[in-house]
């Protein structure tokens, strides 16, 4: 009791006690609050831990036209298909191109599937992706679908939920990342590296959907401002203590007193996560590798994506601290109704070019020390988007909302190659009614393979048995004839 003993306090009458207290309080404040608390300094070394098998859900927000990323080689066996495709999409490219060959030579890199020898083009500004494909680390799943509609909000929700047929626009629900970490155990976390926590991360318990989510928007600045110990009487420290004491005391009480649907639980959870967990993360990282120069100075069109790349590197330094289960990343700006080549070209370069986001991050992660398994071997990127886009260009040098698309998976664990018919001949043939899709405004890539099938295999790679638990409908969902994902992963 402020330099006075409890006994001294108790021995006084209530009235006297109050006068006594009043004087003591004022004297105390006048004298100021002294320091004397030992500095919190722990000598630590970077604690090595292997990264577990980790899926990184990479959302391309806006509905990416991945048909732009991949185009047939000029020598494509079905020349009719190639010609119709060129006619359907030539307005996306520089009008100066005289023919498909000229366009292809300028815009695409001739790429060979190492398994089959099939040749096609990958957009020139995605040179890292081409190299990864030719090294057998990229799976391209053609004719995939993650939703049945063309609406951004509903389709993103479908993709995040991992349920193409979910038709209710309700974001208060679980995502497939949340379900996967729940399967992995109560300690596992879904780690969001972007600016906002997506539905993908959310768990299945209403009112506690963020319980197994770590929001790591900036891994090196993740803790709450706390008392700095040097000047305990500063207003900063007074407020930090007052708020900290409040959240500590009431946090325990409301956890016991209030019903699960009490909405303010979320903020007590934020406090405890950021204070205890955030401080620990910052302490751990402080004694680990600094950000490599290339990564620290990474300059991309999207500053947010560059920060996500830095976050991913740091995540791989302390996977045990995060109880890493799955990771969520995103890149915005794929709704390319107008001037698609300009918009999508920059995006693809940011993510997939040599020296750009993923290449720099992957190189940096390869340098990390490890115990038994390098982190670089434990990560698999899965690329999702709202939907694909229509296969015929619109009249504004862009493409409008479609449905079917390509799914991409990248990682050492991936058995690379093309799964499904990459450039379906049917798009160049008359359908019932006589219309040829590549000559029909509004035609889609036909979605044949549900992303549930792909993700089921991916979840099973993370942990045997996870696939059917996280994607219970996968076994009944669409699968393109001839496609088999049983060997999509190497082990």
């Amino acid at each position: 009791m402020n330099r006075h003993s409890a006994r001294e306090f108790r021995e006084q009458s209530p009235l006297n006690r109050r006068n006594f207290l009043r004087q003591t309080i004022l004297a105390s404040v006048a004298a100021g609050v002294s320091s004397g608390i030992p500095l919190h300094a722990l000598a630590m070394e970077c604690q090595l831990a292997d990264t577990p098998r980790t899926l990184i859900n990479f959302m391309l927000k806006g509905g990416a036209d991945l048909r732009f990323l991949f185009m047939p080689a000029p020598g494509h066996q079905n020349s009719s298909y190639r010609d119709l495709l060129w006619t359907a999409r030539r307005s996306l490219y520089d009008t100066a191109y005289a023919n498909y060959q000229q366009m292809f030579d300028n815009e695409y890199l001739l790429t060979t599937d190492p398994g089959t020898g099939f040749q096609f083009g990958i957009y020139r500004r995605a040179a890292w992706l081409k190299a990864q494909f030719e090294q057998g680390r990229v799976a391209i799943v053609a004719n995939a679908f993650c939703s049945r509609n063309r609406r951004h909000d509903q389709s993103v929700l479908n993709a995040d939920a991992g349920e193409p047929d979910f038709d209710v626009l309700n974001i208060d629900r679980d995502g497939w990342g949340g379900r996967l970490v729940e399967f992995l155990g109560n300690d596992a976390n879904s780690v969001e590296l972007g600016n906002s926590v997506s539905t993908f991360n959310k768990g299945s318990r209403a009112g506690a959907r963020l319980e197994q989510v770590v929001h790591a928007q900036d891994m090196r600045n993740i803790a709450l401002a706390s008392p700095d110990r040097n000047s305990p009487a500063s207003r900063r420290n007074i407020l930090a203590r007052a708020l900290g004491a409040y959240y500590d005391a009431r946090g325990q009480e409301v956890a016991a007193e209030k019903p699960a649907n009490w909405p303010y639980h979320a903020f007590f959870q934020h406090n405890s996560a950021l204070r205890a967990f955030g401080a620990m993360v910052e302490d751990r990282l402080a004694v680990c590798e600094p950000l490599p120069e290339d990564l620290a100075n990474l300059q991309l069109g999207s500053a947010e994506f560059a920060q996500q790349c830095r976050n991913l590197f740091d995540v791989c330094q302390i996977p045990d601290a995060l109880n890493l289960g799955v990771v969520s990343m995103n890149y915005d700006g794929w709704d390319t109704h107008n001037n698609e080549a300009f918009e999508i070209g920059g995006n693809l370069q940011d993510i997939f070019d040599e020296g750009a986001g993923l290449a720099t991050t992957a190189s940096a992660i390869e340098t990390l020390p490890f115990l038994e398994r390098p982190a670089s071997s434990q990560l698999v990127f899965y690329f999702a988007s709202d939907f694909g886009r229509q296969i015929v260009a619109n009249g504004a040098a862009g493409t409008d909302h479609g449905r079917g698309t390509y799914s991409l998976l990248i990682g050492d664990a991936i058995r690379g190659g093309i799964y499904g018919e990459m450039f379906p001949d049917r798009e160049a043939r008359p359908e019932q009614g006589g219309q040829v899709p590549l000559q029909t405004h509004g035609a889609d890539i036909e979605g044949l393979t549900s992303t549930e099938r792909i993700l089921e295999a991916a979840a099973n790679w993370v942990h045997p048995g996870a696939g059917s638990a996280v994607f219970p409908n996968a076994g009944f969902s669409g699968l393109e004839p001839g496609v088999d994902f049983s060997a999509l992963f190497r082990s």
Binding site: L21, S196, A225, P232, I238, P263, L274, G442
Partner: protein, 645 residues
């Protein structure tokens, strides 16, 4: 007729009430009818049951102001006066679309009020040397319309002006919150896609349309014809070649017109019909919408800034000398008014896009999906994140009764038992939370303008992911309350704002000048001017604490628990946290509710609560500021209401 039987009855009842009372406040005579609408003491207003006079108190009034007007700027006496009125009468005074609502936000004297319905005018005034400009001199350049270094329109000026307008007395915060909803959430676009001039025009046009009494259909038609949307979605270059009738353009807005403006997702339509008839034909409708240019508009050298709205739908030569073919670039222009497109199963006819848009608006608004979704979208934004199926039915019926009158609908909801129920719950976005806090902190316009922009809410909002005219989901709108609640960095940055920079909210004096060579002025805070004294003419800590809690958190003290009280008492009485007062050798001590109610800490708390404050001492102003920093970082400023349903 969209209404179900219950609402036909309700309407009839309301009509009778309207006859018996100018405000429709009469209480029905107790009877035996099983109809719940006719139970004793209940009144019906546009399909929603009105809160009883007994439940309509100052907390209810504050709850309305928080949800619909960023807290408003009304003084306590006005709030008490509204609480003493019948709710249906009070709400008409509280929520109006008049540019100036003196009861809600009194502009005081001067020319400010007449300009407050236009961000363009506000920027022009606040960046000027006009003697009537109340802005501190050092801040004026930041509000300039033009970035003179780059000779193009200033993004910063626009970001700053909206935020400051929301805490300026005289700018009707309900009108502006509705305009903000419509332009940044409902029919949202992003500044990077529309440019500064067009998006500001869009906002100003929306404010003007609301102030003119436009209904929802008119507002959506105005949005659909607005140059800012045409630029952002890219359909300003859509055209039908008159030579061959070929369409050139995209179908982006053709789809989002239905989904975003009217809530029609097409789920009740045949998919092929919706995709291939309604959307495709709407893309044809949205042709001939080129924007005029006005060279060097606002002095900008950037051609992107020269675009003007509204669109002139004729064939003409614009101010820049360009030939604009908005009539002949429109679908089927050769047959003029006979040109029709089938959309939503109706023939939409007209010789230009605007004629067809005027015809399509009522059809879209009356579509069952629009009638079902639009009211829910509005109420989710303003007031309730979790609407149950039964509540949805009531809202949908009320929307039908309102006949697209947005003001009538919102007023009815704001005094309804639906809103004033324990189950109503809403997370605040960082826009809302920070404006609620600053509107409670700032006591008058001298303070508002004496504060540099960085001592206002705009920086906090930005750091917490909320920037006006830069919605995080682009056309799907800005940060929602749910977004903010789910984002730990919003919490972290809010914490950082209060803990690392407590002097911003706690500022109690600031020097400023109103002219470069003018006399220096000193703004000084006087909490004593608004915090009531007790019967003895004293400001007692415990009473001041209660007053502050009710000012910042409108829960009637429900969550003002002993732990919070102890900290607020301590900060008000001493400027120190409770642990420092109890035992400065143990600054990390925490005290449970039980410890504060019983035992030695309880005595300390009681003494602190009983201490008198002397607002003549500037230190006391600072102590109030410290208490505000504490209160405004508690969970109860991130949300309002009782439970997630």
């Amino acid at each position: 007729m969209r209404c179900c039987k219950r609402f036909i009855l309700s309407m009839s009842f309301w009509f009778l009430l309207a006859i018996s009372s100018a405000w429709g406040q009469a209480t029905q005579d107790p009877g035996t009818s099983p109809d719940p609408d006719s139970l004793p003491g209940r009144t019906i207003f546009d399909g929603l049951e009105t809160i009883s006079a007994n439940d309509w108190d100052t907390a209810a009034v504050r709850r309305v102001l928080q949800a619909f007007a960023f807290g408003g700027h009304a003084r306590d006496a006005q709030i008490e006066a509204w609480a003493a009125m019948k709710p249906n009468a009070a709400i008409i005074q509280m929520l109006s679309f008049r540019p100036v609502n003196r009861r809600l936000s009194s502009p005081g004297h001067g020319p400010l009020a007449v300009r407050c319905n236009s961000l363009t005018d506000l920027q022009a005034l606040w960046s000027s040397d006009d003697p009537a400009n109340p802005m501190r001199v050092t801040d004026r350049p930041f509000y300039s319309l033009l970035n003179e270094d780059q000779m193009q329109l200033s993004h910063l000026g626009l970001f700053l002006v909206w935020s400051r307008a929301m805490h300026t007395r005289g700018c009707n915060p309900f009108l502006h919150k509705m305009a903000f909803y419509l332009t940044n959430y409902h029919a949202s676009i992003h500044i990077q896609n529309a440019g500064v001039a067009l998006i500001r025009d869009y906002y100003d046009d929306t404010v003007a349309a609301l102030a003119s009494g436009n209904n929802f259909v008119d507002l959506m038609t105005s949005a659909a014809r607005n140059g800012a949307l045409a630029m952002a979605y890219g359909h300003f270059t859509n055209y039908v070649d008159p030579r061959d009738g070929e369409f050139h353009g995209n179908d982006d807005f053709a789809r989002e017109y239905f989904q975003l403006l009217f809530g029609i997702q097409g789920t009740t339509e045949d998919v092929d019909y919706h995709e291939n008839v309604s959307i495709d034909n709407n893309a044809l409708l949205l042709t001939g919408m080129f924007l005029d240019m006005e060279p060097e508009r606002f002095g900008s050298q950037s051609r992107f800034d020269w675009f003007v709205s509204p669109i002139n739908f004729s064939d003409h030569i614009d101010a820049s000398g360009r030939q604009i073919y908005n009539r002949s670039a429109h679908s089927d222009f050769r047959i003029g008014a006979l040109s029709c497109l089938e959309i939503l199963h109706e023939q939409i006819c007209g010789g230009t896009a605007i004629v067809k848009l005027r015809a399509l608006g009522p059809v879209a608004a009356a579509h069952p999906e629009s009638m079902a979704n639009t009211p829910l979208k509005i109420i989710r934004f303003f007031a309730d994140n979790t609407i149950t199926a039964d509540e949805a039915l009531a809202l949908q019926a009320a929307w039908g009764d309102a006949d697209y009158d947005l003001l009538k609908f919102v007023r009815a909801y704001a005094v309804s038992t639906l809103f004033h129920s324990p189950g109503t719950f809403k997370y605040w976005s960082a826009f809302e939370r920070n404006l609620l806090i600053y509107n409670a902190v700032i006591l008058n316009n001298e303070e508002s303008f004496a504060r540099p922009f960085f001592a206002g809410p705009v920086v906090q909002m930005y750091e917490q992911g909320a920037l006006a005219f830069a919605p995080i989901r682009d056309v799907f709108g800005g940060q929602t309350g749910v977004d903010a609640a789910n984002d730990r960095y919003v919490f972290k940055n809010a914490w950082g704002a209060n803990v690392s920079n407590p002097d911003i909210l706690a500022a109690f004096q600031l020097p400023y000048q109103l002219a470069p060579d003018g006399a220096p002025k000193l703004w000084q805070k006087d909490w004593g001017s608004v915090i009531p004294t007790n019967a003895n003419g004293e400001h007692i800590v415990g009473e001041v604490a209660e007053w502050l809690w009710n000012r910042f958190i409108t829960d009637g003290g429900e969550n003002f628990d002993p732990v919070a009280r102890a900290q607020v008492h301590s900060l008000l009485a001493t400027g120190f946290d409770f642990a420092a007062v109890v035992d400065r050798a143990n600054l990390d001590a925490t005290f449970s509710s039980t410890e504060i109610v019983e035992g030695p800490a309880a005595e300390v708390n009681a003494v602190l609560a009983a201490m008198a404050m002397n607002f003549g001492n500037p230190d006391e102003q600072l102590k109030v500021g410290m208490a505000i920093n504490f209160i405004s970082m508690l969970p109860y400023t991130f949300a309002t209401g009782g439970a997630i349903k």
